[in-house]
Symmetry: C2
Subunit: 187 residues, 2 copies
């Protein structure tokens, strides 16, 4: 049952944080301000996020879970790239409602080297997890890492395209198109 | 003309640093120790490297230069991936004499999250530079980024394979094989 007086505290905090990051910059924004803007306490903030940086990375574990579930659930006959691409539909759906957040987030990250590092680590962690899931399917180690790297890079390139255009539902299609473009590039 | 009394100070410092990193760990090693082990002063160390971390990344600019020169120098008819792959021969040659260094370096980096971050940034910087060089060739922006990401990931995967096997001259071949494997994976 949802709390009567504080529905979706994490969501409210994230929205307040992104608004403040956009308005006054990431460095200048404090956890106190974020909590106040969300009408919540600092203590509530720290129940949901380790620090202000993690507000921007709270979706990472959901994203990784969607990729891993897709790889684990793909038909046994699916090749490694098809197993990774099985995540494109659920990942596209996950992001469809988050385009405004994703755009501000991308701007904030682009302006802060510390956040860029964290973003690179997120992608690297996702790559390692995906490679592990592919090995679990019996994909040889060499192929698993290459397929995981490829899948994550397709995701990453398509993500930049998705926030640069206006259709929030387009992310799945943009990932498929980027993979198709990669096929043509290496053909 | 080479200095009579201190030939290749940078090389001696790098070798001393890697030996110490391997023997006693990266964190426990000081610049004083590195300089002493190389028979040089701390001041000489800082003429060549900003800090002990940068000893591990001093080859980054050479690597990037080789990739960019290859892309710039590739025939006008070469597609984006072929332009990037034109770097495989010179990059393989650059590394051929450095396998012992590269192996210790990889171990040190694997054991230190701070260094892993720096390594991710190095690869990301290389990707951005390569994408820029491809755009200069008239490759459309979307394709340039995807080709650069692909080239750097092929380099990265092949690098791990190269240090895991014993032929120092094999790096170029391993990059070509990884690209071929990627072709088959996405076909």
């Amino acid at each position: 049952m949802m709390s009567r007086w504080k529905p979706d505290a994490a969501g409210r905090l994230a929205k307040a944080a992104l608004t403040l990051f956009e308005e006054q910059g990431y460095a200048a924004t404090t956890v106190d301000e974020i909590a106040a803007a969300a009408g919540l306490t600092k203590r509530t903030f720290f129940r949901h996020f380790a620090n202000k940086r993690e507000v921007l990375f709270s979706g990472s574990s959901d994203l990784q879970r969607l990729f891993l579930d897709a790889v684990v659930g793909a038909p046994a006959t699916a090749g490694p790239i098809d197993a990774v691409a099985a995540a494109f539909a659920p990942v596209g759906q996950m992001f469809a409602g988050r385009q405004p957040f994703a755009r501000i987030r991308a701007q904030v990250i682009a302006a802060n080297p510390e956040l860029q590092e964290r973003e690179l680590i997120k992608l690297d962690t996702l790559t390692a997890a995906l490679a592990g899931a592919l090995r679990e399917r019996g994909v040889p180690e060499d192929e698993a890492l290459l397929a995981a790297e490829t899948g994550v890079r397709v995701f990453h390139v398509a993500f930049a395209r998705w926030i640069a255009q206006d259709d929030p539902e387009a992310f799945e299609r943009l990932m498929r198109e980027a993979l198709q473009q990669l096929r043509q590039l290496v053909a």
